[in-house]
Amino acid sequence: MPDSIPPDSVGIVTPQRQRFDLPLPLDCGRSLPGFELVYETYGTLNAQRDNAVLICHALSGNHHAAGYHGMEERKPGWWDVCIGPGKPIDTNRFFVLALNNLGGCDGSTGPSSLNPATGRSYGPDFPMVTTADWVRSQACLADHLGIDRFAAVVGGSLGGMQALQWSVDLPQRLRHAVVIAAAPKLTAQNIAFNEVARQAIMKDPDFHGGRYLEHGTYPKQGLRLARMVGHITYLSDDAMGQKFGRELHSDTLRYDFGTQFQIESYLNYQGEIFSERFDANTYLHMTRALDYFDLAKAHGDDLVAAFRQARCSFLVVSFTTDWRFSSARSRELVTALVEAERNVSYADIEAAQGHDAFLLPIPRYMELLRAYFDRIANESWPVAAA
């Protein structure tokens, strides 16, 4: 709980909800008859409506990117270090929009929502959603808010993949894409980790084929395990070593299988918290959206051809100890962007924290984003879409 709201915070924010009563066709061939998106905004949309920044969330994120929902909230939004008055994405200059993606579990239409066709929650019947579907739904929200073109679409990890998808699918609707700790598609190893997480959830006896809500329960143990596996991949070996090493929870070895090492209790704790706030079906959907993401696929498996569709400038950022989406994956994006003759800058930030670094206030990372957003705020550009 904050004692008082820090001056560089966007302060107390209230989520908003928008219903769209139009069918949304999806990549999987099905469509949603209508949908709701929950979102937050920070800052003010200017008269020219050209200062909007879209924040795309990663696997377990949501619309609450900055500020506090109330004085009783323990921690601010998930990217509060970056968004606020005077922060790198400066809400004195930008109108920042963050939403909960379709399939999410924080208020937007997802597996826990009521299926109008059956009168019960979608559960396993919720259609598969992809990054391209998200981009289409986000564009609906932009239309509703009167934003023709974003100054920037920004995201880390799966959020970065949405920024990439925006650049290729709706090239006229953004001036900049900021792509952090992402990749053009997942590797077999990435998919493997996701599959372990999904199996942990689906094999939990409380999963009930995805209809756990109707049984008044949820696959808590599965979600815990899924998060524990995921969490290991978000940290670097070094970061884990520095933070926990082989420290014991108790004074001596107990010669049993209970929690003894600090890393064990940390992972258990992370898993526990996560299992209490996140929905299992949403976890399945989000990891599948990651697996399916392949920017080049719709362009003859040619990443350069995909990027030739783009019109925006790109900032690509990676972190030296990120092994979930390593620097090499970001460099694939960069070389393809240069070959496609797009404007691109790339920085590989020295950071010990692994993939998690994209959420942390690492000084060089913050300075870089600040420099880039300063430039966006100061640049002159034609009013009409190019």
Binding site: L315, R331, V334, T335, V338, E339, E341, N343, V344, S345, Y346, A347, D348, R364, E367, L368, A371, Y372, D374, R375, E379
Partner: protein
Amino acid sequence: MRPDLGIIMEWIAAGSRVLDLGCGDGTLLAELTRQKGVHGWGIENNPHDISHCIAQGVNVIEHDLDQGLAEFRTQRFDTVVMSLALQAVRFPDLILDEMLQIGRECIVTFPNFGHWSCRHDIGLRGRMPRSDFLPHEWYNTPNIHFCTIADFEALCRKKNFQILNQRVVDRHYRSNPLMRRWPNLLAEIAIYRLTR
């Protein structure tokens, strides 16, 4: 603007595609974009310079030149520039090769170790050359592969690089007829435009 950049700019065609190796704070690319409508990208590994490039809207890619340019091997640039960095890379011959693989032409500038003051320092004083222009001691210098103009041209002959232009200047980028007559003795900086 640094005078060497003015010379380099003369040799780059308007609207061309340029890669600047060791682009520093992005001054050359910013000017090339402004004055000649060039589409350019810089390669740099100094975080401070990278931020500076980004702030002024210059495309900059963080990369260590000693890792080579293999990642860019599918690229085609009109001109690849490397200003006063040749002497600081681990494999100057290989990087020249790579520059002319990914670029139709390249522009290279380097300090001439054949300059009389260097010869004086080594030949008469018996010490490694040091000056305002090359201020480092032998043990902490980033410049690990010095060459003379004669050395450089020998390498070009060996590799069959064609010299399109050559300019020789002092540290203030001035030239004179004597310097042009005896460049290897009197020039402090050499600027070459090469192709294959």
